[in-house]
Subunit: 349 residues, 2 copies
Amino acid sequence: MTLVKDVLQGNRLALARLLTQIENENEMGYQALNELFGHTGGAHLIGVTGPPGTGKSSLVNQLAHYYRNLLQGKPKRVGIVAVDPSSPFTGGAILGDRVRMRDLVGDRGVFIRSMASRGSLGGLAAATSGVVQALDAAGFEVIFIETVGAGQAEVEIAHLAHTTLVVEAPGMGDDIQAIKAGILEVADILVVNKADRPGVEATTRALRSMLQLAHPAPHIFARSEGLSFSKRKVGLIDQRESNPASGPDGEAPSLWIPPIQCTVATEGRGVSDLVQEIERHYQYLIETGEMQQREQERLRSELEVLLRERLVGRWRERVTEARYEQTFEKLARREISPWQAADHLIDWL
Amino acid sequence: MTLVKDVLQGNRLALARLLTQIENENEMGYQALNELFGHTGGAHLIGVTGPPGTGKSSLVNQLAHYYRNLLQGKPKRVGIVAVDPSSPFTGGAILGDRVRMRDLVGDRGVFIRSMASRGSLGGLAAATSGVVQALDAAGFEVIFIETVGAGQAEVEIAHLAHTTLVVEAPGMGDDIQAIKAGILEVADILVVNKADRPGVEATTRALRSMLQLAHPAPHIFARSEGLSFSKRKVGLIDQRESNPASGPDGEAPSLWIPPIQCTVATEGRGVSDLVQEIERHYQYLIETGEMQQREQERLRSELEVLLRERLVGRWRERVTEARYEQTFEKLARREISPWQAADHLIDWL
């Protein structure tokens, strides 16, 4: 297939065309992905999630800029997939693109794709996984998967990554519900962005205590506190909490405790340290062999998402509209329950 | 079935037992729901959603208190279904119960159920719809469906209602992404809670301009502005924007423009006005015949949710673990793509 060859050779136009096919759930797009899949697995996938208003887009922007221009050694090729599950009506995704353009425009080592929902969340998750695979096969070495919103589904999409960043901001930590331990559980790195705002200490403190709750190994965590946790008192921005399990002497880390990193993305402050944490997590995954395990989990989640989508798609192809409406009429008259209606429509095939 | 009879007669213990069966996806629970479904349709279902930290639980608490103790005429029986899609680990749902208890404990006209996720979001949505049906059949006249979080899935669950409240708070409106028009699109009533905090005017202004963007009939909206929109200047808390389409002379409303209601739930301020707006929306739905249409949409959404769950459930019953693992191994070795793996597993049946 010419398209596949072109994508593998780094043709941006071919890549853009493929991504559109994937987004439109075009069968040709899936065919191409089947051929490309053998070329994936080279990229470091980084998920970025967190509540609205925490500045995730600016942060991803700055991270991409760092990987392109400030990294020691060879710059890395960066893909950004911005997933907005809210209605396409908002234009949020397009706006996000424009804000990014100023910094990254013209850099052929960066590829940005904004994805808005057009149907079910499951469809969006499936399409996102396809877009990430295409970028991976096309040779992008670092791929950010950024989700707008902080619902369970958004978190699940961001967690289709090797390293997951959860972004918070000061002033959101006061409330019980503002930071859900459920979100913290998926975090490999916690970022407190907008750290020049008042309340940054309270937010960091709240995050730390919720981390202790959320962490599956509390005894190890408690031990770690005695080592370096909550003992460090440094400047506002460099208030980074390093992983106590990985000593400075370079010994192999045995357990990853999510560090808390403060940033002011709009000014680029803290971004360098954040990149260090991201790279440290990548090393941790590889050195401990956890990368292999995480890759397996990732693929299992992807398979689950696609199975659901394909099952529903297949069923929809085969059910007739007349049959559906006939069953629905009975439901609307409350002659049968929704459960009976569902079973009825499935059994019929 | 004794359980069904007991639930219909208002036996709380039987109801609690049924809800547990539904949550556990017990087949007996579905059997009971099939029998109960003919008794549903009497309740006014009110969805409550919005970003974390806006005080949704306190607000629902106060609304329930109002419907029980301050309503003119006969108090209404109130059901509350609090849906928390984040991990059961957090204990958030339990905490929410405790906070509520103080006000509503001992009132047999109130039934509260907190639901935490134990599997897929689809499963949670299906279980929520079952729990709401059971409360409806048991004679609860007003049922609040409150979702924690502001993701697309949470909004969809809250929208399985007749009247949907979207709750915001001051200080969250500064950011482009803080209020998504996608969420506003489902709002029948907008609530600015914590209205004693600074920034309430800015938030209200931001909501109003986003409403104009989100509203599907901008020309009607523009016309309405000339009538009474943005002209009213009243006290902070009573800064209610009435629906210009329903005149004070009592003529039938032709179009619903979501009003913006300020509240301070912790002090009960604005709650009386909010109840009035809720009741006005209910009247609007009935008088315009939109209730019937909305009920159909609601049932269609419910059927979609259940179809997805049942399809996946049926498939899972029939696929063997050996087959699944064999296919997954090929995927993990990147011999086949996730799409090919999914098709393989479905075609095999």
